[in-house]
Amino acid sequence: MQNFDIVVIGSGPGGYVAAIRSAQLGFKTAIIEKEALGGVCLNVGCIPSKAMITATHLLHKAQHDFKTMGLNIKGGIDVDMKTLVSWKQSVCDKMSGGVNQLLKGNSVTVIKGTADFKTTQELTVKSSTGTDTVKAKYFIIATGSRPIEIPGFAFDEKDICSSTGALAFDTIPKRVVTIGGGYIGLEISSYLRKLGTEVTVVEANTSLLSGVVDPECAQVVARKAEKAGIQFKFGAKAKGQKKTKDGYEVTVEINGKDEVIKTDKILVTVGRRPNGDQANIKGVGIQTDDRGFIKVDAQRRTNISHIFAIGDICGQPMLAHKASHEGVMVAEIISGINRVYDAKTVPAVVFTDPEIASAGMTEAECKAKGYNDLMISKFPFAANGRAVSMSETDGFVKMIADKKTHILLGVHIVGPEASNLISEAALAIEMGARLEDVALTIHPHPTLGETMMEAAEATLGHAIHIIQKPLGGAHKTATVTK
């Protein structure tokens, strides 16, 4: 029997952050993890996929841009998949080890094992060394989500894979069928394509990333992916698969007709589901909704007042950075500080080629919120010196502002380093910045960041590096009704 003030279940980006802040606040804290520290994010999600994307992006640059730049590689590039995968693993291990050190440094007790609620006051933790009981005054559930499995495509993580299995491929598959054209499927498909795999993406919707990102941004990615040779089957439903002598046959239904696609590996990325059915969460009376998300209030408190839930398990968006934000918040709430989840935006990034990143609302969301008079404009990366010199000119920065106040409502970027550019937009939106605030901030030259300033200018109607209508008298700052 071990006794703590706070026990965190799950050590992903929500859980380990919650544990560290809890310890910083002086609580006797433990964290329970059944697999590797850092959770999905560090081990089989965000980080390993980024390692693969970075490596294959370099490969792609070498194969396509080097020649134009006068860099000739004799005899081509040999991809050593085993080394690539082990390098990727070393990245994960480094990050996971870092989490371990941080937890130790903050005197958080790390318990390896699988936790189940026994009562609302105690957990049983099963591990290879036996079963223990862990008691706490407060619990933070951060047990995350897992890939959704669809009928007929049970994961073996060798041939029929979730993202976890696909990230571990140690040979380059010849053919892959990706079921689900969401961001996870697209990220993996893109880098596999760069390694030479023939990729077919089967998507039930009529477009990529539909409802997830700005439709124009998705178009840029779709166009480039098609150009790179990825096959898309839209409006297609995966019905089943059959093992054959030389791989698999995947049957998809398009417009009522069945079509068979031959492949070696099948990647199923149709989304993730919360792990609300685990850890005996329901058994002790913690309420979940019909999709398995734990019901929480704006302080991430469950229906049982000393139990909190953060991250994927407590609702959309299922993003690591949202989980971390909640982790810090909940630890502070437990310590008696009045906190609440009131972020205006959770920026989202998709590591496709080119990257997509967004903060704030899309045009449709603005309209739904009652903003009827909008200012919307785009600034293309093709008009940015740094982007041209990087030979990465696909994409644009799109800004949406309220016409009455010029207050920034949404920023949607598709293009090089979109993921690194979006933080400025998130800050601007949280601060309630106006287009002028962004436009009048001096952005250093020559950087991709200038596109933010120029997009703000473009939305105001007078960007320098694209041709817009003459200003007339409109150069005076628009009067804003107070």
């Binding site: 009562t119 609302t120 006051q121 105690e122 005996n280 329901k282 058994g283 002790v284 009376g285 309420q287 979940t288 019909d290 019901k295 209030d297 704006a298 302080q299 408190r301 469950t302 229906n303 049982i304 007042s305 709430i333 008696g336 500080i337 009045n338 906190r339 609440v340 989840y341 009131d342 972020a343 205006k344 919120k369 009455k404 106040t405 207050i407 949280e430 601060m431 309630g432 106006r434 804003v480 009704t481 107070k482």
Partner: protein, 536 residues
């Protein structure tokens, strides 16, 4: 079967005496429900069950000493069983379903308290946790503006949990307490739940639990979460939260309505007193907010002192007076007037009034004279809108009169007194005064006065310097009538005099204006004939 053990009772406490059981064999309990009261060295502790289920056996008797970690209750685990075996639940829902049902809780909300009243302060609970209450039984006393209202429960049940504590300000429609349901209230959800359990095996467990647990919602968090349309930086939003200021209702002084750090700081005052910490549902008082210092009183002789909570009407009076004195530059003008005629007139109508079932005092007559005078001096029937730098002149005449009650000062209001006869006003004063003393005034009956009269003279004192009832700008004081010898036409004569004070807001009313006001008022009091000339 689950064993419920006596949990840790506090540092160094190894055992406790069983005071009483709060459950009996056969009872269904939910997780976190109190099952026993245990007395330790100093405190009586409520012991909750960590799991839901049905009580099979109680292993101790009241009076027995129990060691920490001893098994005290044997529980047939209802909830856990239903959850882990959902399919069986679906097939034979009777036992677990019925069991969970009887513990269904009912939320009792704060009902409407009167027109325009959105919140009230909890004066006290009139029931205790564990009490069985009948429908319509009063469970709490809530003070709004100045009246104390009794809040009944609409349903019967056993009081489970109080959501607020004494002194909290509660918004209308907030859940104030939960009752564990009676048989009648549980019956309906039972049918509903049975249907669900039969239909869907996977959702059986959560549906069952829903009946017995109150989901916490955003409504329980104070201040409420900032709407995404609120323009304020994350740091400002956090500051507002820490200060207990609802940023949603805050007018922003910045560009396009941006709420600044300064806006939050200046809004802090009034609400800070009720919102320290992570209060659930406590809200800021609706009255103007100001930031007053809160010096502590450090007792040097605590043994000979008694501390009581500053709550209820007393707290409201304290806040109002402090605010009025801080905002309004007061000045008071005092004088006496010959009321010989007035006394004669009043005596002459005594019988008439009695026949009409009332009693004429001087107050309604003074009220009429006051109205006639403020019609000539409209700045006395006005307010200052400080937020917008405007003077608000009122074309209606609602006269408040200060009434002393056992609970403290209240100010009932004669609405549209200019349109009522002296007889009507008399009756109304008698009625309002009586109900004020009994604490039965409705909030609406103490709102909207445009000027106030204080009649401290009925108790004693030559003169006083009253405090204006903010947002009014003047208060008339009337004092004792006394016999006084005067030289009249060279002769010594006995007249009756009465002292008056007019206290005014110097921002709006200058001393000379107040002197002229009093002069005009005295003309009417001294010679009621003059007053009659002006009557409509």
């Amino acid at each position: 079967m689950t064993d419920i053990k006596l949990p840790e009772l506090g540092e160094g406490v190894t055992e406790g005496e069983l005071v009483k059981w709060l459950v009996k064999p056969g009872d269904t309990v939910k997780a976190d429900q109190t099952v026993a009261e245990i007395m330790t060295d100093k405190a009586t502790v409520e012991v909750p069950t960590p799991v839901a289920g049905t009580v099979k056996e109680l292993l101790f008797k009241p009076g027995q000493i129990i060691k920490v970690e001893s098994v005290i209750v044997k529980l047939e685990s209802g909830a856990a069983a239903t959850a882990s075996a959902t399919t069986t639940t679906a097939h034979k829902p009777s036992t677990p379903v019925a069991a969970t049902q009887s513990t269904a809780t009912v939320d009792v909300k704060l009902p409407e308290l009167g027109e325009g009243v959105t919140e009230g302060e909890l004066v006290k609970w009139t029931v205790n946790i564990g009490d069985t209450v009948k429908a319509d039984q009063t469970v709490a006393e809530i003070m709004t503006d100045k009246a104390t209202v009794e809040v009944p429960t609409p349903v019967a049940g056993v009081v489970k949990e109080f959501k607020f504590k004494k002194g909290d300000v509660i918004k209308v429609e907030s859940v104030i307490l939960t009752l564990s349901g009676s048989a009648s209230t549980a019956a309906q959800p039972q049918a509903h739940t049975n249907g669900h359990a039969a239909k869907s095996t996977t959702s059986a467990a959560p549906t069952l639990m829903m009946a017995s647990t109150t989901a916490t919602t955003a409504a329980g968090i104070f201040p409420p979460v900032a709407d995404s349309k609120v323009l304020a930086t994350p740091a400002t939003r956090r500051l507002a939260r820490e200060m207990g200021v609802d940023i949603n209702g805050l007018p922003g002084s910045g560009l396009a309505g941006r709420v600044t750090r300064e806006d939050v700081l200046s809004a802090k005052g009034g609400s800070a007193s009720v919102t320290k910490g992570t209060g659930t549902g406590a809200v800021s008082a609706g009255t103007p907010t100001m930031n007053f210092p809160k010096p502590a009183y450090n007792s040097t002789n605590a043994a000979l002192e008694e501390r009581v909570d500053l709550v209820g009407i007393r707290k409201k009076i304290a806040q109002n007076m402090q605010m009025s004195k801080a905002v309004i530059p007061h000045f008071t003008l005092m004088d006496e007037v010959d009321v010989t005629q007035l006394v004669a007139i009043r005596d002459s109508v005594k019988d008439f009034a009695e026949k009409n079932g009332t009693k004429i005092t001087y107050l309604p007559i003074v009220m009429k004279a006051l109205i006639a005078t403020i019609k000539e001096f409209p700045m006395f029937n006005a307010s200052i809108d400080d937020a917008n730098s405007q003077i608000v002149y009122k074309k209606y005449f609602n006269i408040g009169f200060a009434a002393d009650t056992p609970n403290g000062l209240v100010v009932p209001v004669i609405k549209n007194a200019d349109q009522k006869t002296i007889l009507e006003i008399s009756k109304e004063i008698l009625d309002l005064s009586k109900r004020a003393r009994d604490g039965k005034l409705k909030p609406d009956e103490m709102k909207g006065s445009t000027i106030t009269i204080t009649n401290i003279g009925s108790v004693g004192g030559m003169y006083a310097t009253p405090i204006i009832n903010h947002p009014e700008v003047a208060i008339l004081g009337m004092y004792k009538i006394q016999d006084k010898p005067v030289i009249k036409d060279g002769q010594l004569a006995a007249i009756k005099v009465m002292n008056y004070t007019i206290t005014a807001d110097h921002r709006l009313i200058d001393g000379a204006v107040a002197a002229n006001f009093l002069k005009s008022f005295f003309a009417k009091i001294q010679n009621p004939g003059v007053l009659m000339m002006g009557l409509t």
